[in-house]
Symmetry: C2
Subunit: 231 residues, 2 copies
Amino acid sequence: MAVNQKKINCTSCKKKSSCFNILRKADHKFIDANRLEIKFKKGEIICKQGAFASNIMFIYSGLVKSYLETENDKHVVLNILPAEKMIGLSALFGNNVFLHSASAVEDCVICSIDIKTFENYCNSNGAFASEVIKTLNSFCTENYDRYICITQKQMDGRLADALLYLTNNIYKNRSFSMTLSRNDLAEMANMSPESITRILTKFKKDKLIKITGKQYEIKNYERLLKISQLE
Amino acid sequence: MAVNQKKINCTSCKKKSSCFNILRKADHKFIDANRLEIKFKKGEIICKQGAFASNIMFIYSGLVKSYLETENDKHVVLNILPAEKMIGLSALFGNNVFLHSASAVEDCVICSIDIKTFENYCNSNGAFASEVIKTLNSFCTENYDRYICITQKQMDGRLADALLYLTNNIYKNRSFSMTLSRNDLAEMANMSPESITRILTKFKKDKLIKITGKQYEIKNYERLLKISQLE
DNA sequence: CGCGAGCTTGACGTTGTTCAACTAGAGTGG
DNA sequence: CCACTCTAGTTGAACAACGTCAAGCTCGCG
């Protein structure tokens, strides 16, 4: 699973998270030295809720599902994370335990940074820490949106929401190749996989979307948006 | 509503939030000068979702309901906050807009600190900012718990959860005078007020709790805990 | 003493889950 | 290259969970 040989370089990397942009060249070199580059195959677990959080991770490429594990072994998706997002910030300055799990939805390359190095930068560099706060709060905004979605909307609206989220934030195209399974979608919209099928079928009938195998196309964005707002 | 005359003093205040403990006396004096002390009566709105967030607030005394407002004018309770908790940290370094509303469940005294002063401290003092990160992440843990509660448990479990939360974290006693209405409880457990009544009645019949007017008593903590875990 | 907000209760309809049977497609070994 | 298996997806029927509505009640307050 792990690939020791690094192919990326912090100093020249264009995908840096906002907090890293404010660091100096010397810091980038230091981080580069305290960094691991790991490949994960589709389905593999990247971090495990409850495990000791020894590092903070940055998605260099690929798609990640961040989720909570429940008593009855179900998954509650917190977020689908594309490249350039960070994983594990919520473990900072706690008891250094991951609050959630994350797994690779597509093959991924992950940069893993020692959590103590990260915490040291926060402690010694207020501007760096402020960027971390900013990032945490942007997660918070997304969480609140999902909160409202799940508590207030019913199935049609929740699935419409999920499809729009994927279109706008993940695949960034109204036509895309779906890499999430029915089950992933179900965990995302908080319903059973059977219900996902039923509603997708209805959406197809109503010409809102077109599905050919894994290929999805949003045919009527506006109505989908209305459904997500009203139901 | 506002009381200009300050009765509290930052330097001697024993209720400081963890991030303030690491500041020096000079900083406490500075904050004391950039601080307002405001009284809110039960029911009054302390901060309004979407409004310009010009300050961060600290609950000196009283009980606060932090909640999201939805399109259809319903409230989703994020948290019930007791004294010594902060309100509005999620507005830091964003577009300085409150991500949620908060209202007084009981009469409150609130210390209000200029958000720019607060952000300046974060930027210039990594240790201060790190404490803020720690606080944000402890909110995150609570949010995740509520997330699981609301998505996975059904009504009995959700109400049991709410009652245990109030017992352990708010009133800190198995016997307490309930200051939340049926409606508040309903928003907290994400169900209708009618359902709250029905389940409370069932809990009373089953001798799990005793209710005399506003006075609540947890009679069978262990079983309530089991219900919160299993259902 | 009467009014009104908050609470209680029952009947009913809707939403969404569960279970079971079935289908399609991808991967595997002979 | 074909049969076999295994997983993911689909579909329908039955049922449980929960909200809504309407009517009645209670208690604090003017």
